[in-house]
Symmetry: C2
């Protein structure tokens, strides 16, 4: 195994986000979301689980509340009772803890920290002496530990704790939080590996890989790198591994019988990851694995792993990603389907999968400074991932469709997963805490440092201090305005490169001024590098905020003859509340002209696009026949109003569509 | 209960179909289809069941062949073994027998008749002394007879036998065939009714109602009318009837657990039929029930039943029917969804449901001479129903989609029911024999007589003799040509009315000449009546065979901005084999001009439509990005070729679409 490449001396001290847009979200997370989710997982509020696609009703026969904290108490011997909820119920606590840890860094809160410390203590008590922790197995199936990895989510759950433990240690210095994580890693080292006395397997739901890389990052211990390398390289070496375990555990003993025989492709375990050529199977499984893979490849420099990560990336981003950044085209197994298959009315686009794409993009970016990775982070945080949370912070989408007709969601069972409203909670509650931890950790997505270069790849206003006294202040009002000013203070006259991303929506037209001098750069690869030596450098980046019409590749059936509208990073949609009648009766003219207006009082402040270059079918009241011969529907000019996709479903329930007829 | 209205003296003696189009199909049925299906249900060929949406794999664990005849032999005590197949496996034999009976009327065949006689003998042996017959219950669950009517299909199965027995008696005079049917009806009378000692229930899958009406028709026995009346009026009176039976039989004892709790709407048993306002639930269940209802209403004249039938009709035809005549919008439960919800890529459109629509339309027509009922018969027999059978007669569609992309069928599980090829057989093999019996009985769909009027409602060339020596010869070459000549011979100078239907696609433009005199009629209600008194009358009807563009109602989301193409009764589609590339990249111009050419050598002879008034996206080979900014795809003029929908999927596998972008 290749040694990690040496790191440079440039490093980040502290990132402070000053962006109005993101401060609102991050304050909401600290003040509302984290408290709400803690009450929910502690069964202290009235929130009950809603209907979602993957809820096993049997798991909740003893109650419709989360029970996630309670399960840990039972495992810790503090409470008595049955395990309630899914195999991975513990992760609702861990992801909440991780999100809380991030908020403590920008929003110190002693009361919260007392709660989180107590939760860490509880987790420590629930953990077995050997490091194992999965409450459902400890409470209900102690004899089946590590014996049905395809479905057990044990490694997935421990992976989520490791992420949380690392984050909490980083935020608060709580050593116990890190110790639990290291004990878990030790448990996995004891049980998994190529040695004869170990299990030659891996988890059905990847997550441990990216988590162990975080543990490696914070501890620097090479054993965690090696363990990640094992889990990634061993996956799919024996395509029958899961079947053999299932057979030994008893086929009838499945947690989800449907998943017994769904095929190893679903678990991305049909062949070794280095032989895989595309993204397939369960979307979140695939992208979590790809995140760990990219991170490992970046650290080790192994070309075969880099290539494998690149193949997954290319297939998703160039062939299977919705314009909003959502991924996973089918509700059947929450899965990818195939290249250019992007149906808009039955799609899944799980919030977790979009969040996972930001993780994956960040690791790809760390490995290779290219604009496209930052573009995807930007796409997710302003669109596909962000739509997972309501403006109130306490309602969430699991599924993020591109087109919704509430009547179809209600009355056509093929669209029952396409909910027109965000829900208070889910039986499988992976999404709420996932979008929460992403927003709470947004400061980690602004800069990437490699060798001698600081890459400021997101246009989110911030004030950040680096090593050597370097400070960068970004003043910008994206996503609504296109001008960003960077004030770089470099008191020690360090020689380094400062790089900015030219977003794909502005690559044909942008202007960069360095100390009042316009510089001539082409922005190829979406990145512009400016050498810095002076004590003070002012850089202005002016991006092109015109309204863009987006056309899908001609291989995409679903969007033939349709257009989407994007301004800056924001993908727009039409909502029925702004556009009366059925949305499918609107048509954009060939070259529509849009007016943009920021509306302070609407949807917590959004930029609204309106156009009069549209028509709408005039429904004739006497035309009741289902089909008309040779009579094209009459159209009349109309106004069309578009709002940011992320902000839909925060007003009256109605139809929504990202793609518009033209 | 109202007495039946008196019948007039006008009656049909014999209908001989002379239409080239239909003779080919009917000869195929006699020479190929009926022998093939007999071998299949007798397990004498290699045909095995294929995958279909509703196949219970467990039912076939003892073999992948039909076993339908063998089940009867086991029930009859002639063979030993287990029941194999679905609850309703017996009906594959009965519907085959019914189809064979019809063929014997136009294609006498002593060998076939020996076989069918033997099958009747076998069925008689399998029938219990009390008249009961359902092989799965006799063999596997003798103690559960009539105890789980929601799922048992016992009445459905016996209904299908009754239809077959009546048809076979009518065709051959075989009394035993009728006796079996009457014994079954007696068994039902003994077990069902409002009396205290009887079951106050009905079958989960309607069919017995329309079958008992057939038995009433041929026997004239009022008890069968009364029994039909009971089954129809009792349905839904106690919405908990099925639940109570299921509870008593044991919930865990379900044949299809999913159907236990699906809701009584699914069975059209949520309230009394006279209180129902729309078509809902399982499409075939609903339309079979509606057929029996319409027939009963026609005979009794009961206005509440007529109204109930009319409401179902209106909801289907005006709000839930595909342009091809297919019905049932979702594969989930093979069901209706809701008004104006007509998705083209996930639709179900079961062949049986289209066949059922011809039954329903025929009964509505018998009750009320209106063109719209004949229009639907015509729509089904040339489109939605006919597409269920391949041109070779031995491959069948269960699902008849309006749009197919084979890659999606293969790789997107949401479309796995949308098969791009017809199958040799199915686990649930209801469709093959259903389309077969419809074609074999097509002669029953040409005329309807009421009071003093003979209504020749289909343009299918035939030579038919009536009472009083009346003979009508229709010479026409529909669906390809629009001129039909009727030669009416009336040797006894009987005074009667002759009526023809003006199809909805020709209602604005047609010409009728009676003995060389053009008559001035408006064709309102789609019917033109000509009084006949002379010994010889020649009537020429010239219909408008222009190519029509069809636009869907603006309430239909799926067809917004699309058009369909119809010429005469034939709905056209584009197939990829004629139109290279992806079909969704074609666009019809606003006012396209089509050339029509009958191609003798293509698809057993079809009328083909071509136009040069279309464009297609020119895919740029270097344009590999998934989304393009502000660059509308370039289009170039192209030729577009359309073939009749019924004939698709008889050449190379590829994409198909009925609706075209415009």
């Amino acid at each position: 195994m290749t040694k990690p490449t040496a790191t440079t001396n440039l490093s980040i001290n502290q990132v402070k986000i000053t962006s109005d847009f993101w401060k609102r979200y991050r304050d909401l997370v600290a003040n509302v979301v984290v408290p709400y989710q803690y009450e929910t997982i502690s069964d202290k509020n009235d929130t009950t689980i809603g209907d979602d696609a993957f809820t096993d009703k049997e798991a909740y026969q003893d109650g419709l509340q989360s029970h996630a904290i309670e399960n840990l108490k039972i495992a810790a011997g503090i409470s008595k009772g049955k395990h309630v909820g899914m195999n991975f119920q513990d992760t609702d606590v861990y992801k909440w803890l991780e999100a809380a840890a991030y908020t403590l860094q920008y929003h110190p809160d002693k009361d919260l920290q007392a709660e989180t410390d107590a939760v860490v203590d509880l987790i420590a008590k629930a953990q077995q002496p050997d490091g194992y922790l999965s409450t459902i197995f400890q409470i209900k199936f102690p004899e089946r530990k590590f014996k049905r990895l395809q479905q057990s989510h044990e490694l997935y759950s421990m992976g989520h704790y490791i992420e949380a433990g690392v984050a909490y240690f980083e935020a608060t210095g709580n050593q116990k939080a890190l110790d639990i994580a290291e004990k878990m890693a030790a448990c996995l080292e004891d049980n998994f590996g190529l040695e004869d006395n170990k299990i030659h397997g891996y988890g059905g739901h990847p997550e441990i890989e990216l988590a162990l890389m975080r543990l490696y990052e914070v501890t620097g211990k090479e054993e965690y790198l090696n363990l990640t390398n094992y889990f990634i390289r061993q996956r799919g070496q024996d395509p029958d591994f899961f079947d053999k375990q299932n057979e030994a555990d008893g086929w009838d003993n499945a947690f989800w019988p449907d998943l017994n025989t769904i095929g190893n492709e679903y678990y991305y375990a049909d062949k070794p990851v280095t032989e895989q050529t595309d993204a397939h199977g369960h979307a979140v499984r695939c992208v979590y694995l790809a995140t760990g893979l990219a991170h490992l490849a970046c650290v080790t420099g192994d070309q075969d792993l880099k290539d494998a990560a690149q193949r997954i990336w290319n297939d998703i981003v160039k062939k299977q990603m919705y314009i909003t950044g959502n991924v996973g085209q089918t509700s059947t197994g929450e899965a990818f389907t195939f290249d250019y298959d992007l149906p808009t009315d039955t799609d899944y686009g799980e919030t977790c999968a979009s969040v996972a794409m930001t993780f994956f993009a960040r690791q790809m970016l760390a490995g290779d400074f290219k604009g496209e990775y930052g573009d995807v982070i930007e796409k997710e945080i302003y669109n596909g991932a962000l739509s997972g949370m309501a403006l109130d912070g306490t309602h969430y989408f699991y599924v993020n469709p591109l087109e919704v007709n509430p009547s179809e969601s209600e009355k056509n069972p093929d669209k029952k997963h396409v909910l027109p409203r965000r829900q208070a909670w889910f039986g499988t509650a992976c999404c709420p805490s996932n979008i929460t931890r992403l927003i709470a950790s947004m400061d980690r997505y602004l800069y990437e440092i490699k060798d001698n270069t600081i890459f400021a790849h997101q246009y989110i206003a911030n004030s950040t201090t680096f090593s050597d006294g370097i400070q960068i202040d970004q003043d910008s009002n994206l996503p609504w305005d296109g001008t960003a000013n960077f004030e770089i203070t470099n008191p020690n006259n360090v020689h380094f490169n400062f790089a900015v991303r030219i977003p794909n929506w502005s690559r044909d037209s942008f202007k960069i001024t360095v100390n009042d001098q316009v510089i001539d750069v082409d922005g190829k690869d979406g990145i512009v590098v400016v050498p810095i030596t002076d004590e003070k450098t002012s850089i202005e980046v002016v991006l092109d905020m015109k309204t863009n019409l987006i056309y899908a590749n001609a291989k995409v059936r679903a969007n033939a003859d349709d257009v989407a509208v994007q301004r800056g990073p924001i993908v727009y949609c039409a909502e029925q509340v702004d556009n009366p009648g059925n949305l499918w009766n609107y048509q954009l003219d060939t070259v529509p002209s849009f007016d943009f207006a920021y509306q302070e009082g609407l949807l917590n402040g959004v930029g609204v696009l309106t156009t009069n270059d549209a028509t709408k079918v005039e429904t004739e009241p006497d035309s009741e026949s289902l089909y008309q011969f040779n009579q094209a529907p009459r159209r009349a000019s109309t106004k069309l109003t578009l709002i940011p996709y992320y902000s839909w479903a925060n007003r009256d329930e109605g139809q929504m569509s990202v793609w518009l007829h033209k």
